[in-house]
Structures are given as C-alpha cells and as structure tokens.
C-alpha cells in the first residue's frame, strides 16, 4: 500500500526543534501535515471523545459524530451496551446515518438500502438473491465480512471515548490517575443532563484552539470578565497538572479570599483591571459545585477534548478539524439530574460565560484566527513557549506554558517528525 502511508513517511523528512519551547508555524498551515494527522493522530493510538452516555439513554438512541474527519456512529443496543462503528456504508461509502442525535431500530443506507443493526453488523442487502434468480450477489458474498469497522470504546464517568486504533492503551493508563481523579471530581456518581448544544466554527487550525485551552497564562489577561469578578486571578490558589506523557492537563483554581485584596494586577498595568461592573451581578452568584472550593477546572484530554467547570457552568467541548485552517468546536452544556430549580437558574445565567457568545470564551473563538492570519508568510518561524521553563511538568504556578509544551511533546512523537540534532 498505500496512499495512506505516504504522509507518515514524508513526516520523518521534516525536522522538529529539539526544545519543547519552539513550535514551527508550518504545523498550523501545511496540507500534508493535516492529512498525516488524520492517520497518525485521529486514527492513531489515542482516545477521542464521542458523546455522553446520558445522550444515549435508551436502546436505539444514536449519535453521529466524528474522530478527526472520520464519521462515526455511536449507539445503544437493546442489550444495554454502547457500540460505535464507522459511519460509512460497506457498499459504496455513503453515510449510514445523517442526523446528529436520533433514535432508530436499525440503520438503512439510503443509497441501496443495505441495512445494519444497532451494533453495526451488516444484516441486509437489498436484492441479495437478485430477482427471479437473476442478478444479485455472488454465492461467496458474506455479509459478516462487510460490516463497518468497530471502534474500541471506553466510558469514563459517563464520557464515551472511542479509538479507531487497536494499539491504544487502556483508558485508565492513557489518562493517568490525576486526570481520572479530576474527571471523577466533576462527574463521578452524577447524572448529567444536556442543557444545550452549540457549534462554533473557528477560523483556525485545531491545534491553535488546543494551545489556547492549555494556556493558563492567557486566561486572566485576555479575558477581562475572569479577572474583574475574581473567577481566575493568577494569584488565586490553584495549579496546573500535566499528565505524565504531557498530553492531558488540568488547570484549576480555588477561592482564596486573602488574595482578592492584593494588587498584583494593578502593578502590571494589564488591561484587565478596569473597574467594570455588572448591572445584574447575579450572573456570578454561584454554589459550590461538588462541595469543595474549586471554582475553575479546565481539563483537556489529548488530542481534542475539554471538560470545563467555570463556576457552575459545566460543559464538554469536542474539537474537530474540518480543514487546515478551520475547526468545529462542539459545546455541550450540562446540568445534573438532582439540580434544584435555583441551581438550574444559576446554570442558565452562567451559560453566558461560555460558548460562542461567552463573556469569558468569545475571545478564544477569534484569537486562533488572529494567529492563523498573523503567521501567514512565516512558515519558517517559530512560536516561543518558554513561560515557566522548558519542561512539561505540573506546577503550582499557572503563569506557565507547561501544558502547551506537553501537547507538542506528544504530538511531535505521534507524527513521526525527526527531532533536530543537538547543536
């Protein structure tokens, strides 16, 4: 073979800087790199978020989603189990299901009515025997050999992850205990309820969004809302957890009342400190989400998943590349089954903080585009990510780019670039 292997080979001909503090701009611009990512990352030994278990509550519920560009179908069958398989008819390649979320007793491809059960087995071929003994499939045609490829699946506290690769490690090993603990903190033994789903199309490469998610350095500088209302001052108690392999991260902070009075921001003359006030301050009224003091927890799982707590705004974000310079960001806003009416109201109000019109997230929709446009003509230049050193390690300070370095550490290895020789 194979057409598919060519980009991977070509990637070894590219040189990546030895230091984790340099990121070459061509990685956000190059069509060949984008194609190789589909193979090496999205079809590679990694877990991608698919949907919530809660979105497949009943047998027959399905979700048509993607891993990278690859369409996949996630279902719940009558045995109560969740299944996932490529959303591509084994016959001539048409989508098996088109609706994003739906309910079905089986799936029939609209093109030639080939039929699949909820587990993705090919169960029916129209006119398989031909008509009046003429035409039809050959006698050696075996339906079982023509089912769409099944995914490996993992359920982490109601988050369904899938992989197209058989060499992917067990999810517990993949995430590591610290990341698992932080997912459990927010979702463990709780029953999420979907409050809304929105897709934001970003005018930039998907990795620029992931860098932004992992960048705790920017949060209180770019986003005025955070700082003004004490949602995320860098001087709050908090920290960064970078997983052992570097790929996943958690940025968190907790209420620290003494730090509120401190004047670190004024000293830095950063735009964020403006005395801006709300006419309806109930927007930032909140309750302890799970009984602790943590008010912010941004958690990412390599390659493209985010679980977010910003006060009582809980959401998952799925990052899906659509082109080199275009990305779909799928937001799912969550509440929980046992939320009181008052808690529901707080979640509704705080939905204004996030999403495409979010007071603290709208800038993230645009900033990637500013970079994508800014680096045009600079393919041979590098971004510099030196805040907090040159390693990809956990730290108590959030004035660090450690988790960005971690992302690139996993990425450059997965892509098979040659690492620059030591000088």
């Amino acid at each position: 073979m194979s057409e598919g292997n060519r980009p991977a080979t070509a990637m070894a001909e590219r040189t990546w800087p030895r230091s984790l503090t340099e990121v070459p701009y061509w990685v956000f611009q190059d069509e060949e790199v984008y194609k190789a990512e589909q193979e090496n990352i999205f079809h590679g030994p990694f877990w991608s978020y698919l949907c919530l278990e809660a979105e497949l509550a009943e047998p027959g519920d399905f979700c048509a989603t993607f891993i990278g560009e690859q369409p996949v179908l996630v279902t719940r069958d009558h045995d109560g189990e969740i299944y996932a398989f490529e959303n591509r008819c084994a016959h001539r390649g048409a989508l098996i299901a088109m609706e994003h979320y739906g309910h079905a007793k089986d799936f029939t491809c609209v093109y030639h009515a080939w039929t699949y059960n909820l587990q993705g087995d090919l169960t029916g071929v129209a006119f398989e025997e031909g008509i009046n003994g003429k035409g039809g499939m050959g006698k050696d045609f075996c339906k079982a050999a023509h089912s769409p490829r099944r995914l490996r699946l993992a359920n982490v506290h109601g988050l369904i992850f899938g992989s197209l690769n058989n060499d992917v490690p067990q999810i517990e090993e993949y995430l590591g205990q610290e990341i698992l603990d932080r997912i459990e903190r927010l979702l463990g033994d709780r029953k999420p309820v979907v409050l809304g789903r929105f897709t934001q199309t970003l005018p930039n490469n998907w990795k620029l969004y992931m860098e932004n998610v992992k960048d705790s350095y920017h949060a209180s500088i770019l986003h005025l809302f955070f700082t003004t209302f004490g949602l995320n001052k860098l001087n709050q108690k908090g920290g960064i957890i970078v997983s052992e392999n570097g790929g996943h991260h958690v940025s968190w902070s907790a209420i620290n009342r003494e730090a509120e009075a401190a004047s670190h921001y004024k000293d830095q003359k950063i735009r964020s400190d403006s005395g801006y006030q709300l006419e309806d301050p109930s927007l930032v009224d909140s309750f302890s989400e799970v009984g602790d003091d943590i008010t912010l927890q941004i958690l990412s799982v390599y390659p493209g998943f985010v679980l977010q707590q910003i006060q009582n705004s809980i959401a998952v974000r799925q990052v899906l590349p659509t082109e080199v310079g275009s990305t779909n960001l799928n937001w799912t806003y969550l509440g929980f089954e046992d939320d009181s009416e008052e808690q529901q109201l707080i979640r509704m109000k705080q939905s204004n903080l996030v999403g495409p019109a979010g007071y603290v997230s709208m800038e993230d929709g645009a900033i990637g585009g500013f970079v994508q446009r800014g680096i045009a003509g600079a393919s041979n230049e590098f971004a510099t990510v030196q805040m907090g050193g040159d390693q990809a390690l956990s730290s108590e300070s959030r004035v660090t780019e450690a988790s960005i370095r971690g992302f690139w550490k996993v990425y450059r290895a997965a892509m098979g670039f040659s690492i620059e020789e030591e000088a």
Binding site: Y101, D280, P356, A357
Partner: protein
C-alpha cells in the same frame, strides 16, 4: 395603531439600534422583566433550555452592551439585519405574539459581506403608551453553527 403597525415600527428601530447604533438603545426595546435568548433550531426543537445568550431581565441586556463596549476583545464588525413581515399570531389591546424571520449579514474588519445568521424571532410584545415592547424574544437561528463568535445581539 394596530399590532402589525406597532410591531413593525418597533422592529425597524430595534435593528437600527444594533446595525447603525447607538447600541445602548437596544435594551430599551425590552420590558424590565423581559426574557431574551439566542438559540438554534435544533436546540429549540429538542426543548433544550440553554442559550448562546440567555437573559431574564433588562439589566442583563445592558450588561451585554457594556461588555461588548468595555470588556470583550474582538475584531470590529457590523451587522445588517433584513427582517421579514411579522406574522401576528395572537393580539389584543394589551399586546401580541408574533414571529418574524431575519437574515443577518456581517462584515468583519475590511472583509466581505458574509451571511452570518438566518432564523426567526419568536416574540411576545406588550403595548405600553402606544409602543410595542418585547416581554419575550427567543431568537432561533436556523443553523446549529455560529461562525467565530457572536458579540452583537441578534
């Protein structure tokens, strides 16, 4: 004036406030206890409650305006709203419910005119002192996707 006239007049000035300014006038088209939400047809048909923008009083709308003027960072851009004729669904002397389709074009920076959103307003108006004020406006965008960000209201 009849409901169609009152609502048409109000909506004409509503889009003018957003498209041509001053944007500070936009909250004044609502009652103090108004409900305003921007959502998508998919969320609306599934009965999902959250919005891209969600407000249950006029103060929250004023906060939207001061945030877009003083807090949030984005590339300068402008809308042009094209509204259809309102369909008056129910009316009496105190108010009316209506639906109006919209198309919003957006120009960002020195870029081209792009189609940003199409959809419909699901409205409840009250008539006070010869003016139609919004007690409830649900903005239902046809597409599930929002390009880049939504700063100015719809």
């Amino acid at each position: 004036m009849d409901a169609l006239n009152l609502i048409s007049r109000s909506q004409g000035f509503y889009v003018r406030a957003i498209d041509d300014g001053p944007i500070e006038e936009w909250p004044e088209f609502f009652t103090d206890d108004a409900f305003y939400k921007v959502t998508t047809a998919d969320n609306h048909s599934r009965g999902l409650p959250a919005g891209v923008i969600w407000a249950n009083n006029k103060a929250m709308l004023k906060d939207r305006v001061s945030a877009l003027k003083d807090a949030n960072i984005y590339e300068p851009h402008a809308y042009r709203h094209m509204l259809g004729q309102p369909a008056i669904l129910e009316e009496d002397r105190t108010g009316a419910t209506s639906e109006t389709s919209f198309l919003v074009l957006r120009v960002t920076g020195n870029g081209p005119t792009d189609v940003f959103a199409s959809g419909r307003y699901l409205d409840e108006y009250v008539f006070i002192d010869g003016k139609a004020l919004l007690k409830k406006r649900i903005v239902v965008c046809d597409s599930s996707r929002i390009d880049t960000l939504l700063v100015l209201p719809l």
